[in-house]
Amino acid sequence: MIDATGRPQSVLVLGGASELARAIVAGLVPGRCRTVVLAGRPSERLEAAAEEARTQGADVVEIVAFDATDLAGTPGVIDAVFDRFGDIDLVLAAAGALGDQADLESDPTAAAELITTNFTGLATALLAAAARMRAQGHGRLVVLSSVAGERARKANFIYGSTKSGLDAFAQGLGDSLVGSGVSVTIVRPGFVVGRMTEGMDPAPFATTPEAVAAAVIGGIESGAEVVYEPPVLRWVFAVMRQLPRAVWRRMPG
């Protein structure tokens, strides 16, 4: 159960190897989180994430094979987790890829795969998880969106549009769950310096996985609907969204 101060006792991470997810789990385990289920493609990084959660003190740490592009298999994976571990207090939707815009523009099939992972796959998993949480009468879904979804930019509009879609989906899902005991927190980080952005020049207002994790945990505890990290991006993008297209498309990077 999530306690009065907003701390969950169990978490299912979709995209368990993700750097952001690992930082968030590292913040949850010392609180009350004793059950950590990491779903993702089997990999050394996923194993390492599990080991990390064990070291931090979680009692039950399990890896579950999950491929966001396997749309037919996804609901079964989610159901199996809820069947096996009982209540899941928190589902963290962290799976996603950034891709290289130029490569993706020249390889529509690869672009479609990225879109499936980032949007269709997560939407499928979130619907399955929301149904189980609605039945259990409580829980929180945390969806990692991005400020890149606030307004698609020509430099990364494929990734940006997946986050746009996911963000809109999560807003609607959150509204549909009002009164069910289940709620949705949408996280919109800026440029996160880390493995996913290795070799790229940091954008203005860049942040770190640790800072995003702290903001997410603060948002979970306070029951926030939307979390920006850094918080100033809420206002930066409120302005950005209003810029004329002619100006917007000249934005560097």
Partner: protein, 474 residues
């Protein structure tokens, strides 16, 4: 078999934290309790459903009367008075009858409830489930010591439970937070009173040592005793308090014209004077407003002891019941109450807790210190001889969770424990260490509820029940 009508609703405790959705069944008749229980058992044996728990007036601060995804039985409908013996003050009432109702009906007839907490808006069923205590614990013990008998609907049948017929089940239910069954009625022994007034002595204490010394030496002379502590006073004044102690007033004790008007002297007509109309966005309580309120409250108390002042029961026992929805002043994120007890010899723990709260600027206005007498045999019953402190804290302070975890360790190390009726954040392993007799409770629960039908959010959180496949118990 009929399946009772259910409606999904979002429920939280008095602290308004961690709401969850459950199917509410209105138990308008005891037969519906039996039906709901049978339906829940049939669901559980079929591997479906998420169990059942009863709910009264929702005054537990945390998640005790919530059952996410399962059935919550609204027991406030069980409000009949079944039997009354006014010669000896023994009454049998439905479990949904509130203590307020008991006072309204029986104080004018010369009988008062044996134990009342800081609110009279609790049901008899809830009073048993939490084995509530009052300002008279050092003299009269807790609520269940005054329960002669109760009807308990369990998944394996209906029991008439007395402390003699089934002591294990009786005492597991006392403080068992509703996890041994649904109480449908109870027989209580009331206490005789001549009036609805108390004669109250009020005095200030300059610091914690002062108030503790006064309570240790003087409490035995009073039936009721409690101290309000200014938890923001630090340094030399740490623990400065207002001590109020009293006894039921006899008719002859009252001034005229009450003394000459027995009916008026026994009148019990509670009024709600004001109501908090909405939840203020940021809450109204911060270190500044609470500091001012604490200052006011301390200085409102007389500088020199004021003796034998008549106070009406409502103001003496339940000052906050006069304000409707007072729990809203803590803002949309709600609040919690931290109440612990430590043995007599560990009074220093109280000091450490007050110091720590003041240090991190966790402001609290409702701070109550009380000395408990001996506990009763309930394995999950809270009271034990020693000091109990209760503080109300708004949720939202960044360090609240960690500070309270630290305080849990202090309390545990001192051999103390946390009151489950107030709890909304205790960790399972801490709970188990604080209540070493929990296995005795679980053994009784397993006998009357082998399929684990009786569940609550509190039970899930601290490890008294589960929705996963039954774990093998050793």
């Amino acid at each position: 078999m009929n399946t009772p009508h259910r409606s999904r609703a979002l429920l939280s405790g008095w602290g308004r934290t961690a709401p969850t959705a459950a199917d509410v069944v209105h138990a308008v008749h005891p037969a519906l309790v039996d039906e709901a229980m049978a339906a829940a058992v049939s669901d559980a044996t079929g591997g479906r459903g998420r169990g059942l728990v009863a709910r009264g007036l929702g005054r537990s601060y945390g998640d005790a009367a919530q059952n996410a995804g399962g059935v919550v039985l609204d027991a406030t409908w069980l409000d009949a008075v079944h039997a009354v013996d006014l010669d000896v003050g023994r009454i049998t009432v439905g479990a949904g009858v509130s203590l307020q109702t008991l006072m309204e009906r029986f104080v004018p007839l010369g009988w008062f409830v044996p134990v009342t907490p800081g609110t009279r808006l609790v049901t008899v069923g809830g009073a048993i489930a939490a084995d509530i205590h009052g300002k008279n614990h050092h003299v009269d013990g807790s609520f269940c010591s005054h329960v002669a008998s109760m009807t308990l609907v369990t998944p394996t049948g209906i029991h008439t439970v007395t402390p003699v017929s089934e002591p294990d089940l009786f005492w597991a239910t006392a403080g068992g937070m509703g996890l041994t069954g649904v109480i449908t009625d109870a027989t209580l022994q009331m206490i005789p009173v001549e009036t609805s007034y108390l004669l109250v002595d009020t005095e200030r204490a300059e610091d914690l040592d002062d108030v503790m010394a006064k309570m240790l030496t003087g409490d035995d002379a009073y039936r009721y005793s409690v101290a309000w502590i200014d938890c923001q006073a630090t340094g030399r004044r740490l623990g400065r308090s207002v001590l109020t102690r009293g006894d039921h007033a006899r008719l002859a004790d009252l001034p005229d014209p009450l003394a000459g008007n027995p009916a008026k002297a026994r009148a019990f007509v509670p009024r709600q004077r004001v109501r908090v109309p909405f939840t203020p966005p940021g809450g109204l309580l911060n270190p500044l407003t609470v500091g001012a309120a604490n200052e006011f409250w301390f200085h409102k108390a007389p500088r020199h002891p004021q003796l034998r002042q008549p106070h009406h029961m409502t103001g003496f026992f339940h000052p906050l019941d006069g304000i409707g929805g007072w729990n809203r002043v803590y803002g949309p994120r709600g609040f919690l109450q931290y109440q612990f007890v430590v043995p007599d010899a560990e009074g220093e723990t109280v000091r450490h807790v007050i110091e720590r709260l003041a240090e991190v600027k966790l402001a609290s206005f409702v701070n109550v210190l009380k000395r408990f007498g001996p506990g009763d045999p309930g394995p999950l019953s809270f009271p034990m001889p020693g000091w109990t402190l209760a503080v109300d804290l708004a949720v939202g302070h960044e360090d609240l969770d960690r500070v309270l975890d630290d305080l849990d360790e202090l309390v545990l190390t001192a051999g103390g424990r946390i009151y489950l009726a107030k709890d909304s954040r205790l960790a399972p392993h801490t709970f188990h260490s604080m209540y070493p007799e929990v296995d005795r409770f679980l053994d009784v629960k397993a006998k009357v509820d082998p399929d684990g039908v009786l569940r609550s959010d509190l039970g899930r959180r601290i490890g008294l029940c589960s929705d996963a496949d039954p774990l093998p118990r050793d």
